[in-house]
Symmetry: C2
Subunit: 549 residues, 2 copies
């Protein structure tokens, strides 16, 4: 017997229609590539999304055709989020931090029909356009009079001219909620990039989950600054959750330096910001010497990579900002866990709470997770046992686009498929998960595992250390031993011995790295994470002290 | 092209599995019919829900069979919520406030196979059981040794004995998320009661929406007291949202008096409570003379009927508790709107905010609404125009069980069906809806409409008034004129003239009632609302002063 409730598919067009009708004058503020501050609202975004949809119709794009973007966080990108997906096409957000060769490869793999880009990225488009025959329309996200005369890109048109020619009435089509809505490529550790292909259903369920009180807690009273990029993992789904809740959105555009972010937070009364540790480090570095404080910021969710404990403490203790540790991945839309406390934790001391806050957090409803040993057997939730972290849920990937990489899921005894995250983690009795390492980064020393992240966290707690990466190097007796590669803060002085001594008492003796290597910079990947593969490569001639092999 | 995300139906069993796995020791505290306080947790609720499912299997109940409950808010009722629906049967919550004849009629209409009831309601079951041949199993929600020897109910068994015989392992079945999960009858204004038949999908989407920051804002840190009954409109969906978030639940059982509720709030550190105005009035009446304060209560959502402004002010000003006005109905699962402010309202004065707080609120994503005139044309959102309120969304009813009452939906020009709520409302430019009346209660005086609710709100603001109902009586010149029927507070004195004078300056002259009728009590319906039909009936011989007709 079926229920008798209204049968409505969950569609991305519902989100923008809702924001238009119920939160029309909710503000959308963007720092633009042009340098100025642009002010829009949900009415305007909805209207221009409909113009985007009409424009795609006029370009004869079919249902399911891919429209790529290479763009910063801003109102035009937001309009494309709704106009492209809402009209039944697939929004393909491209990460400009990929190498142009990879970008060309990805565009061809996705068979994009249209590419829309911020002028910042003109050089990338100039480098790749001749290699991308599927792209019929190149659209620069600017006014017509900002288009350079000679770009070498055939038929390049301005977004504003394209939209201006379109009516602003449009009837959003209705279709199966499992229809593909958007896609995002992720750089695997091996092989070519692979894409997650999101659906309208997965996106809407994630939008609900992401806005929940125990996740990002987004209400119509919030002013939300997503520093996490819209060109990667949908800015944690914030554009969708924002439309669902009608919150104010504040977009930083290309200006991710501490000063620009700080000013935007203050002038637009930002209450909540989402970002990765590297960006927040720049923000704190700007604020500290000037003695600046936040007037309105109440909480920030930090994810993308493990957040150094020192940073959580600084935000909490010095600035009164609640830091919530988050974890997710492209294949999870992206949110999986967030570290919000439970009722039973409220009576704990700050110190005890801090121990919990260092973890990546607990799963929101919709995501289930487990840790397994090398044989696939589930490990206990005791906060000690660690194993490969697997996840499942309605916004977790089931297969990569075009079946790349085969079937990624691991079946359990009930036949349910689990996605292997590539992370190694513990889960405690309260369901709080803590990443101990990436499966490929964990250091195997004498049959025991050493977490490279733990070694790094201790290093960055030293006042002279700006960045630290721990990698394993071959050892004749122990198989592998950890060393720590360090970038010092500008002007800071510190010896190898000082840092090694700093580890004393903070971790087990055998987990203290064997050596410290000072470098000027640690290579970062397209998503801002440290590229340990490159680091290992650059240190391939390195030898452990006292170790002739 | 379909997305490539995991294909998982939204099932109520997912909720209890999640709460079991991720919030196992989250507390469930119940004041029992037995009088004591019972302590359980999500692990225990999950385990016993599985025993319920096994018990239904052992009773040979088929998929979709109806299991009825007549029970207070408590842990056993919660177990039935998950065990019955999770195993593919339909949970039919019966409202004990219906007349026994209606209850028998409803049981026969629903063709319930099992009826589970709290011992409070034994007299009802004794009155109806012989007329309900579809019910094969009568289950008393108590220990075996609490079963009276002679009840006259054949084969009556105790819930605890039934569960004790069952294994606590159970594999929840997987099925279409549109499968019926539960049902609730509502007393229409005409004809027999009609049932809303909820689905697993509608229930889960509503559970997400209801827990959102702008709705009930439920997190794992909350201790939630649902005074709104689980026997009606699913206690606003709190049992489901609670499992989804892992919050602590505190159930009042049958003790809804001010003292019992207050004590439970204090001992269980309740942070959030949901109820109807009549219950909160009893709570305030208990607290005020004793000078009691709330230690932990932060906010309360008030719905079920329009909340008197004086009560909102008392909670806010005297007790520091944020009162959120809510609106919904059985046919909406039940939540439709909640009155939480927007970003732009934050800088307003308290007085200006209060004007907004008096409204029923704005729609959450998933619900759309409109007001239409007598010809079905949509009216503007200007806060002034009022018309019949229509709603749609994935947790809004499309048809009543068994097709009773025909197709209730009204089609718009796009062919979309809207459910007519029977309320008359305004909607302002920010989407805040305010009920001005029930379509059937509005008083039509000289071509103008007078809101009976507005007349009542002024009356209950008078310190001597305990309850007030405004009804229209026939008038030869004006068609109808309002009168107000008043119950005075115990010991309070007030004349007709005093109350009429109290209206001066508070509303337009022609909206002031023509007369005051003092009564000892106003008849209340099964859901606690004033029964104006009965009131009109009892006053059918009433004549307006100076009006001979």
């Amino acid at each position: 017997m079926l229920g008798l409730m209204q049968n409505q598919p969950l569609l991305i067009s519902n989100l923008i229609e809702f924001a238009d009708r119920h939160h029309g004058d909710g503000e959308i503020v963007s720092r633009r590539v042009e340098g100025d501050i642009h002010r829009s609202d949900w009415n305007e975004v909805a209207k221009r999304s409909r113009q985007v949809a009409n424009a795609l119709d006029s370009l004869k794009l079919g249902h399911g055709d891919r429209v790529a973007t290479i763009a910063w966080n801003g109102y035009r990108h937001l309009e494309l989020y709704f106009g492209v997906s809402g009209s039944g096409r697939v929004l393909h957000t491209l990460n400009p931090r990929f190498h142009p060769d990879q970008i060309a490869w990805i565009i061809n793999h996705a068979q994009d029909s249209v590419l829309c880009f911020d002028m910042t990225f003109l050089p990338i488009v100039q480098a790749v356009h001749a290699k991308c025959p599927s792209v019929k329309h190149w659209v620069a996200l600017c006014d017509a009079d900002r288009l350079p005369a000679e770009t070498g890109i055939p038929g390049l048109q301005s977004y504003e001219a394209l939209l201006a020619a379109q009516p602003d009435r449009y009837r959003w089509p209705e279709f199966d909620e499992n229809t593909a809505s958007s896609m995002c490529y992720t750089s695997g550790t091996t092989g070519n990039p692979k894409a997650a292909l999101y659906s309208h259903r997965s996106t809407l369920l994630h939008a609900f989950a992401a806005a929940m009180p125990d996740m990002m807690c987004i209400s119509a009273r919030d002013s939300v600054l997503p520093v996490v990029p819209m060109f990667h993992v949908n800015a944690w789904g914030i554009p969708y959750s924002a439309a669902l809740t009608g919150c104010k959105l504040v977009f930083p555009g290309p200006a991710l330096d501490g000063k620009s972010i700080y000013e935007l937070m203050e002038t637009e009364k930002v209450s909540y910001a989402a970002g990765v540790p590297t960006i927040w480090q720049m923000l704190l570095t700007h604020m500290k010497p000037a003695g600046l404080k936040f007037s309105t910021l109440k909480r920030t969710v930090i994810g993308g990579s493990a957040c150094p404990p020192a940073m959580i403490a600084t935000f909490n203790d010095d600035y009164g900002v609640e830091v919530l540790h988050a974890w997710g991945m492209t294949e999870m839309s992206p949110l999986g866990t967030l570290c919000t406390l439970k009722n039973k934790h409220l009576s704990m001391s700050n110190d005890e709470q801090m121990k919990i806050r260092l973890k990546q957090g607990r799963a929101i409803f919709g995501v289930d997770m487990k840790i397994v040993d090398a044989d696939g057997h589930e490990l206990p939730w005791d906060g000690k046992a660690y194993g490969d972290l697997l996840v499942k849920g309605p916004w977790v990937l089931s297969a990569y686009y075009q079946g790349e990489g085969g079937d990624p899921l691991i079946k359990d005894e009930l036949g349910q498929g689990w996605f292997p995250t590539g992370d190694v983690a513990t889960i405690d009795a309260d369901g709080f998960m803590q990443i101990t390492d990436r499966s490929k980064d964990v250091i195997k020393s004498g049959g025991e595992w050493i977490s490279s992240i733990e070694v790094e966290n201790i290093a960055v707690a030293h006042p002279a250390v700006a960045m630290a990466a721990c990698i394993g190097v071959a050892h004749p007796k122990w198989d592998e031993r950890p060393i720590v590669v360090v970038v010092k803060k500008p002007g800071a002085e510190m010896s190898r011995e000082e840092l090694l001594q700093f580890y004393e008492g903070k971790t087990a003796k055998w987990q203290i790295p064997d050596d410290v290597v000072f470098v000027d910079a640690i290579p970062l990947g397209a998503t801002g994470k440290m590229l340990k593969t490159k680091l290992r490569e650059s240190l391939k001639d390195y030898k452990l002290p006292g170790n002739p092999t």
